[in-house]
């Protein structure tokens, strides 16, 4: 199975969708649906037969030359972590095509072209094991996303698309400089000039240099994740994007940041990451509380959901820098569960907007009586968002808190306050939109069959994740252990991190 296939299908699908958009309004949708669906089926097949693939680090590995004179390769690899994220990508990709079915009515061909190319870029990011290639895909997904927000977005779309593009591009360039520096340092050490991830692992460099280079990478990932104070593009981009855009932003683009932290920061700069860990965790906690606070005070529904993302991604940041297996399991779980639950909330908001043409929370209320199915779906995903046991997010946040508890009790306590804050904003959401007095005086209809189907699938998955998280954890386990062992192997003081960060935390406080 050639991994390039995934990307080529999406790129070709995008092109065909664009071309077919000239003649038909339905053809682009069908072509995109088929393209993503093929990929989805292949990924599911791999997931079920993963015992029959390679036993090493990578389940599937693909290597070819791209630009030989610079040591740039076309190196794509798949392991449990990327497999999980690919499943999520293609699943949300299918949903994204489906929810655009009625919402997007102009320039359908070009819209689907952009959608497919964003997915292609994301898949590339999840699979690239060559740093140059990784950067290439990292940037590639920006342009179509920029178009998606800028052309099909809401009122303030131009501003939001600029902000999104410039934030991510600027941070990406810093990462690129770090990549180049790493390339030269490795080349000077060994005489082999290469961008290959596996060879760059364990590059020897001075501690201060490692710190500087790590910050280059870190900025790119923290902007994408996003972590406070790099988050200010996110509420704008999420709010102004069309529903499918918000879904992909929240469900997938943010995950590329989390993926980058796990895949690149920790293994490439283990020592620097360990000494940065307490600050990283602190940033995570700040993100959790700050995001929750702002989510509570929003009146625009989309902005509200966007800020819950900031809060939830704070958990990811916290977990990543706890640097232990339990927390990492939680991080992976959080990536999946947040992708589903926040995606579902954005879809819900999109559906509401289609019906009542406002996202202003003060103009809603008492909608349960009119649209009970919608209300139920809203309730379930608000509960997921606040971390109700039995739903996927609970497992994720619980595991992260357990992992963090091993390292720092204080951080755990503060982060747990975030759970209470999540309860408050989630309940406010349900209260203001579906319960209370009705401020909306127009006609409103409940979910159509297509929409019900989408919601049902999402509900089933989030419940399944909450009740049976083990398959996901099993799938991710080898990758997590690899990340941790890369850290252990490359860190100069293995094991010291358990006590080391905790001591530092006291200093900060």
């Amino acid at each position: 199975m050639n991994l390039l296939f995934f990307i080529i299908i999406l790129l070709m699908g995008g092109f065909l969708a664009w071309l077919s958009g000239k003649w038909s309004s339905i053809l682009p949708r069908i072509i995109s649906l088929i393209a993503v669906f093929i990929n989805f089926i292949i990924t599911v097949y791999i997931a079920f037969n993963r015992d029959s693939y390679g036993k090493g680090t990578w389940m599937i590995d693909y290597k070819a030359n791209w630009i030989k004179s610079f040591g740039i390769g076309l190196h794509l690899s798949l392991d449990g972590l990327s497999l999980l994220l690919l499943l999520l990508t293609f699943f949300l990709g299918i949903i994204a095509v489906l929810i655009s079915w009625k919402e997007i009515t102009k320039n359908i061909g070009f819209y689907h072209f952009n959608l497919m190319w964003i997915l292609a870029g994301i898949v590339g990011v999840f699979l690239s094991m060559d740093l140059f290639l990784f950067y290439f895909f990292w940037e590639l997904m920006l342009i179509p996303m920029y178009f998606l927000i800028g052309i099909w977005g809401h009122e303030n779309r131009i501003y939001a698309s600029y902000k999104f593009f410039i934030f991510t591009q600027a941070s990406g360039l810093l990462m690129f400089i770090s990549i180049l520096a790493l390339y030269f340092i490795h080349g000077a050490n060994t005489g082999i000039y290469t961008f290959d991830y596996e060879q760059l692992l364990g590059t020897k460099m001075s501690e201060s240099m490692a710190m500087i280079l790590m910050f280059g990478f870190l900025v790119a990932f923290l902007v994408k994740l996003p972590v406070v104070p790099f988050h200010s593009w996110l509420p704008d981009a999420h709010t102004e994007a069309p529903t499918a855009g918000s879904l992909i932003l929240a469900g997938l683009l943010l995950k590329t940041g989390a993926y980058g932290l796990l895949r690149f920061i920790i293994p490439l700069f283990p020592t620097a990451a360990v000494s940065f860990a307490p600050y990283g965790m602190l940033m995570g906690v700040v993100g959790i509380l700050y995001g929750a606070k702002l989510a509570f005070s929003q009146t625009d529904l989309k902005r509200l959901v966007a800020y819950t993302s900031v809060s939830h991604m704070g958990f990811v940041m916290l977990g990543v820098f706890a640097l232990n297996e339990l927390a990492y399991q939680g991080v992976v779980m959080q990536m999946i569960a947040h992708g589903i639950s926040t995606g579902a909330l954005f879809i819900l908001v999109g559906q509401l907007y289609e019906r009542i043409h406002t996202r202003d929370i003060t103009k809603m209320g008492g909608l349960w009586a009119k649209v009970p199915v919608m209300g139920a779906v809203g309730l379930i995903f608000s509960m997921a968002s606040l971390g109700l046991p039995g739903l996927g997010n609970f497992i994720a946040e619980f595991l992260i808190l357990m992992g963090v508890c091993k390292v720092s009790v204080w951080m755990t306590c503060l982060a747990s306050v975030g759970l209470i804050a999540a309860t408050i904003y989630s309940l406010r959401f349900v209260q203001k939109v579906f319960l209370g007095t009705d401020h909306y005086e127009g006609k409103i209809w409940d979910l159509s069959v297509r929409e019900k189907l989408i919601s049902a699938v999402l509900v089933i998955i989030i419940v399944w994740l909450g009740l049976m998280p083990q398959p996901v954890l099993n799938m991710a386990k080898p990758a997590i252990l690899n990340t941790l062992s890369a850290k252990e192997k490359n860190a100069e003081k293995p094991g010291a991190y358990l006590f080391h960060p905790a001591n530092n935390i006291k200093d900060i406080q």
Partner: protein, 473 residues
Amino acid sequence: MTVTDFISLAPLLIIAGAPIIMMLTIAFVRSHKVIWGFSVIAFIVALASLYFVSQVAPHDIKPLFIFDKTSLFFMGMIIGASLIITLLSYDYLKFHMGEKEEYYIILFVSTLGALILTTATHFVSFFLGLETLSVSLYILIAYLKSRDNSIEAGVKYLVLAASSSAFLLFGMALIYTVTGTMNFKEIGAILISSDPLSPMIYAGFGMMIVGLGFKLALVPFHMWIPDVYQGAPVPVTAFIATISKGGVMALFLRFFFAIQGGSNSIFISVLSILAILSMFTGNFLALQQLNLKRMLAYSSIAHLGYLMITILAGNILGLQAAIFYLLAYFITSLGAFSVISLLSVCEQDAEQLDNFRGLFWKRPWLAVVMTLSMLSLAGIPLTAGFMSKFYLVFSGFKSNLILLVFCLVVNSVISLYYYLKVVTTMFSTADDRNLPVVSFTGNIVLVVVVIGILWIGLIPGSLFHFITEFASF
């Protein structure tokens, strides 16, 4: 003169001979189509002749010219760009009142000037080439004399270019006084052996940098460029952006290498300051522009600032990066200017940002080319601009020019704003403006440009390899 000399000079002779034939032709038949067709053929023949030159390269014609692989590559780029500009010019001039035929004659002469610059190894050929290029540009810029801005632009260029030439000449004279030679290599040899350098040398180089900086529009010698870009006919603007700057850049590289300027800390710091100033000034001034030609003028200042990194690198890698960057910049600029040129109607150039409003919904193909060009200028992956910027950063890093590389990165982000503005405008809602139909030759140009941008952006491996073999002085 030997046969080899003749073969080596073939491209120059063809480009010099063509205008004479054209003048004679015009005396009998005055036909736009005939002269245009002849120009296209002459450029193609000149391009083909490069193959024969490459068989005898490297070849010295002492003391004025050298035909090595690098100059051949530059000549190829320049003749190719002239060919594309000629193709565009037909549609552009078609509706213009008055004589159009002489335009092509002057185009040949100025191309000749640029070609001489790429091969010059001596102050005499250097100055001859530069003046041939500039004097014919005075005419080209003001060619459509009924337009509002064209005479202004032409006179501005005339006055400033003439005074910058005076600076250049004086600088050369000072250097000649000290070294007693006008050959680049010999000057370099004398400079290496004499330490410390006499103040007269520094004064001479200072004045030469003023002259060269003017032609390249580095800050603070950039004042002419927005007005000239705006006032000149679009194909001529494309000519200034690509051929004129490329030719001077080729000479600058050769000269700086020959005198081994990279080993002198004063040269390095002066050029670094010029580079950084150019990057920031160019990009900041471009931010608020609503006139696309002026915006591209300012963006070209920034790009020349980036290119200074390759000169400062002062090694073979820098030279390779410069060639690669110039090639990508040629193609990208030609892409942007051909779209502007093809959208221009007889009285008015399509230079305002408003002319592009909703272009994507009305002429998707033109908008795609423009989008690719803008993204390439901004250095976004998939496009030639990304790979060339990568090469540039790479060579800068290798030569430890960290500050300059960092400035380049900061400026790339700043420049995004105005490149994206163009793209955003094209994707906004369309108005009911009528647009001219794109001709067959226009489409050929666009296809060539798009293939070039994507080819360099996606599979640059063979080109990297090719340039690595070619670059040497």
